[in-house]
């Protein structure tokens, strides 16, 4: 139970400023990036017409996300953005799954990670909108349908970042709290493995997919 709300931090001072780094989040994020690199090397090391298991898995995943992107964004923008969307999905999937291994923490349990990814999606969507429509058209769209609705449009766009970030963070954090509480109450018997499977694998996959598709849809809405 003492694990709830515990944040391990590295604290140091730099030029009079106190800097706090969430060590578990950083370490886990780097570990996941390492795992993705290993997976990439395994998948692309010996590419053949009849694929091996790693190549087959990566082709399946990348092909599916490419189709998803092309359907949402169209041929031109879908092909341009699918590497980003694919990387985002694989990263989030591993972030959410890593919690099922004992002594490992999900980086998505930290709001900084999810908010960072949400802000990244926001800048990509709006950057693309400015690129596609031009700055003038982009700005005038905030004044539609009536000019005084501009603040509402701005609040709505900013709230998208808040809502997708808090959704992922809340789901993963909530799942881990439930696992800790039930494990404490049930003394680690019977229930926890099923809870890990449910919150770690099932909810983790769904939330990674939802975050990825929402980022994709927000880009698509800006392009249309």
């Amino acid at each position: 139970m003492e694990g709830i709300g515990k944040v391990s931090q590295w604290v140091f001072h730099l030029g009079g400023m106190r800097i706090e780094l969430n060590s578990a989040t950083l370490l886990m994020t780097w570990l996941i990036m390492g795992l993705i690199l290993v997976f990439t090397v395994l998948a692309t090391r010996r590419r053949e017409m009849v694929p091996g298991p790693w190549q087959h898995l990566s082709e399946l995943l990348v092909g599916w996300i490419k189709d998803l992107c092309v359907d949402a964004l169209g041929e031109q923008w879908g092909k341009r953005y699918y590497p980003l969307i694919c990387a985002l999905f694989i990263f989030l999937l591993l972030c959410n799954w890593i919690g099922i291994i004992p002594y490992m923490d999900e980086p998505t349990k930290d709001l900084n990670t999810t908010l960072g990814l949400g802000i990244m999606g926001f800048f990509i969507a709006h950057g693309t909108a400015i690129w596609v429509k031009g700055p003038k058209t982009y700005i005038t769209e905030y004044f539609k349908p009536i000019f005084f609705l501009m603040p509402l449009n701005v609040v709505g766009e900013l709230a998208k970042v808040v809502s997708i970030s808090f959704r992922l963070f809340g789901n993963i954090m909530g799942g881990s709290i439930i696992i800790i509480v039930v494990s404490y109450l049930a003394y680690g018997l019977i229930l926890p493995p099923f809870l890990y499977a449910f919150f770690g694998l099932f909810v983790g996959t769904i939330q990674a997919f939802v975050f990825t598709v929402l980022t994709l849809v927000y880009i698509a809405v800006q392009i249309r």
Partner: protein, 84 residues
């Protein structure tokens, strides 16, 4: 792997599941902006009230716009299906 129609259903399901959170997100954002503006300017709840109201109206408007987008997607899809 999955058809275009399935992808569209996924997208729309995800968007629909996000509607409630968008509303909450708008109000939460309004609350946060108002709270910190009040704290910064030393006021006692004027901006908090204003921005919460803006968040409520903004949330409603954003949800309305998202539903319109979903409808537009649906009508585009049915137009494509009806095309010879």
């Amino acid at each position: 792997m999955l058809g275009k129609e399935t992808h569209k259903i996924f997208e729309q399901l995800v968007l629909v599941s996000q509607l409630g959170l968008t509303m909450v997100g708008c109000i939460g954002l309004g609350f946060a902006i108002g709270y910190y503006l009040d704290k910064w300017l030393g006021l006692r709840g004027i901006f908090l009230t204003l921005f919460i109201l803006l968040g409520i109206v903004g949330g409603g408007f954003t949800v309305y716009r998202q539903i319109r987008e979903l409808e537009a997607q649906n009508s585009d899809g049915s137009a494509e299906d009806d095309a010879p």
